[in-house]
């Protein structure tokens, strides 16, 4: 168990370092950064001043090691646009993205667990087919479009939720619903297939033979085993959701890390872009590590090795 965690941790660190390198190279793709920061109206002299001021005149490898060295201790440099340190900016925006992610995941689990169980217990009935149809449609609907539809219906026509912004808890409801929808199809299908498999297994037959009640069989025995992959995948899904929240945050003008990323891409604010890519990647790496550990803890068969 400890060996497994240690190996995964080492892998995670290595992946994080690679992502760091890629994030650095990514922002150098545009060619000359000094020109893009200076903007189209700048003179050659302005560009040279900016090149010096931002240390872009140094060789690429020097810039890279300077950046990684400081990033390791949480110093991502200064934002060019916001006149604040990148670390501060991210620290201010992170709680919003994390709240959105947790709201989205909770909603997704609240909807997909019962739906998946229901579909499995009523396998091959119209209920099962209805759930399957729902997951297929859910997979096909673009999240930004669903967001706009909710704005029209819940925001304008019913007038019960604010259309965009960050102020109150109500601002998280619509983005949370949209984000949940990105995870519901996969989680529902997984719950359904896990539950079907569990209900067909030997230990359920034994439990039936012992004369246990149906509710007890379903919730105590079958669900516990069906839930193992769902719990682990849910952690991975949360990582994807945090990374994918950029579209939803932008549509709803919710000022989280994703929105920050979008703003800084539009403003050519490359220290922020680098840092946001890295932070979201580190969250994903951490959550997949958690998923693997949870999986090992919940499933005794995986504990050795």
């Amino acid at each position: 168990m400890l060996r497994l965690i240690a190996r995964r941790l080492a892998l995670g660190v290595l992946v994080a370092l690679t992502v760091m390198t890629l994030a650095f190279l990514l922002t150098r793709l545009s060619g000359d950064l000094a020109v893009s920061i200076a903007g189209p109206q700048a003179t050659q002299a302005d560009v040279e001043i900016i090149r010096k001021a931002y240390g872009l005149d140094r060789p690429l490898y020097v810039q890279f090691f300077a950046w990684t060295g400081r990033a390791m201790v949480g110093d991502f440099g200064q934002s060019y646009f916001f006149k604040d340190s990148v670390a501060n900016l991210i620290q201010k925006r992170l709680p919003i993205t994390l709240t959105l992610g947790l709201v989205g995941l909770s909603l997704a689990l609240l909807i997909s667990l019962p739906l998946g169980i229901l579909a499995a217990l009523r396998e091959n009935t119209w209920i099962d087919r209805g759930v399957t149809l729902f997951t297929m449609v859910g997979q096909a609907v673009p999240s930004f479009w669903l967001a706009l539809i909710l704005m029209i219906v819940l925001g304008l026509q019913l007038g019960i939720l604010p259309i965009s912004g960050t102020g109150t808890w109500q601002h998280f409801v619509m983005p949370g619903i949209v984000l949940a929808f990105t995870a519901i199809p996969a989680l529902t299908r997984l719950t359904r297939s896990g539950m079907i498999e569990a209900m067909a297994s030997d230990y359920i037959r034994t439990a039936r033979a012992k004369g246990l009640s149906r509710a007890r069989i379903i919730f105590k025995h079958a669900l516990r085993n069906a839930a193992i992959p769902v719990v682990s995948i849910a952690a991975v899904q949360l990582g994807f959701m945090l990374g994918g929240s950029i579209v939803i945050e932008t549509v709803f003008a919710l000022h989280g890390v994703g929105y920050l990323g979008w703003e800084s891409i539009a403003k050519n604010d490359f220290p922020v872009v680098q840092a946001v890519v890295l932070v979201l990647a580190v969250f994903y790496i951490g959550l997949t590590l958690l998923a693997d550990i949870l999986n090992a803890l919940l499933d005794p068969r995986l504990r050795t090795g």
């Binding site: 992946v15 893009s36 997979q139 579209v247 994703g258």
Partner: protein, 293 residues
């Protein structure tokens, strides 16, 4: 040791009874065929031009609403351009991006997956590491950053998505290659003196191709949705090209008074993606009958 959860190959799950599954497969093929036909010959059939502006006829509603303009079946957009002509042209963009992305990402992912699955050991360690790294990169953010920094354009969107969406190809190619590499026909090919490339291309690939076809449909659907999202955020296909995502973005400012400007391209997008996914599910069910031994 078990593999990381995020990398485990998706298990094929059957969808309902085979009759319903077959119906879904047929519907999916029909949807994809219709969109493909629209993309290929649609603009020859629609009399209007997708780019011609007519500011006197802005935001005319489609045929089922009042105040519709004859000749503009799906109405006109905020610049008076015919919505049907733009929608049909948009099908071309969606399909083109979907197919090109799948070709690019398929080449990368299948190469990595087959090599890792066949050789194992160090090669496989590297492939696993590459997949893990790729999965931890936030796709939308990085795609936005690349397009934002390098300038928008159809080719760049395809290249970016192709470089980002190969993970599932690699995961499935790797897992299936591992299953077939020990089969008798592979050993027989060895004994017959076949070369390594010959075995990989002539023996392994054909036997995992059906699984890869399922992945291709999933990735194509994903690529189409991502292109729409990028174009919606203004960093995908540049105007005046009528990408469906861009049409939704342009209609967004008018959606509270003329909701159909976002309804029409949004429904088109959802129906196309649903169709592609139904085809994928149909293929998967066909596979279920002859699951890997």
């Amino acid at each position: 040791m078990s593999e990381p959860i995020a990398i485990q190959a998706p298990q094929p799950s059957s969808i309902g009874s085979s009759r319903i599954g077959a119906a879904g497969f047929a519907i999916g093929i029909a949807i994809v065929a219709i969109v493909l036909a629209a993309a290929l010959v649609g603009n020859a059939l629609v009399p209007q031009d997708p780019f011609t502006q007519d500011l006197g006829n802005r935001l005319k509603p489609p045929f089922w609403m009042e105040g519709t303009q004859p000749g503009h079946w799906l109405g006109t957009d905020q610049l008076g351009r015919d919505y049907l002509a733009r929608l049909v042209y948009g099908a071309r963009i969606s399909l083109l991006i979907g197919i090109m992305t799948v070709i690019t990402s398929g080449l990368i992912g299948i190469t990595l997956g087959v090599l890792g699955g066949f050789f194992g050991g160090r090669v496989d360690d590297f492939v696993l590491f590459a997949i893990t790294t790729r999965l931890s990169i936030p796709v939308v953010l990085v795609a936005l950053a690349v397009v934002g920094l390098m300038g928008s354009g159809l080719g760049l969107v395809v290249a970016t998505l192709g470089l980002l969406l190969w993970d599932r190809f690699a995961v499935v190619a790797r897992a299936t290659t591992m299953q077939v590499r020990n089969h008798d026909y592979v050993s027989a090919a060895w004994c017959a003196g076949a070369s390594m490339p010959h075995i990989l291309i002539k023996e392994i690939l054909p036997n995992i191709a059906s699984h890869l076809a399922v992945v291709a449909t999933l990735e194509m659907a994903l690529a189409i949705l991502l292109e729409a999202a990028l174009s919606f955020l203004g960093l995908g296909v540049p105007p005046p090209l009528p990408s469906w995502g861009l049409m939704i973005a342009e209609g967004k400012d008018y959606m509270f008074f003329s909701p159909w400007v976002i309804m029409i391209p949004g429904v088109a997008l959802a129906v196309l993606v649903l169709g592609i996914n139904l085809v994928g599910d149909g293929l998967r069910n066909l596979l279920g009958a002859e699951r890997l031994r």
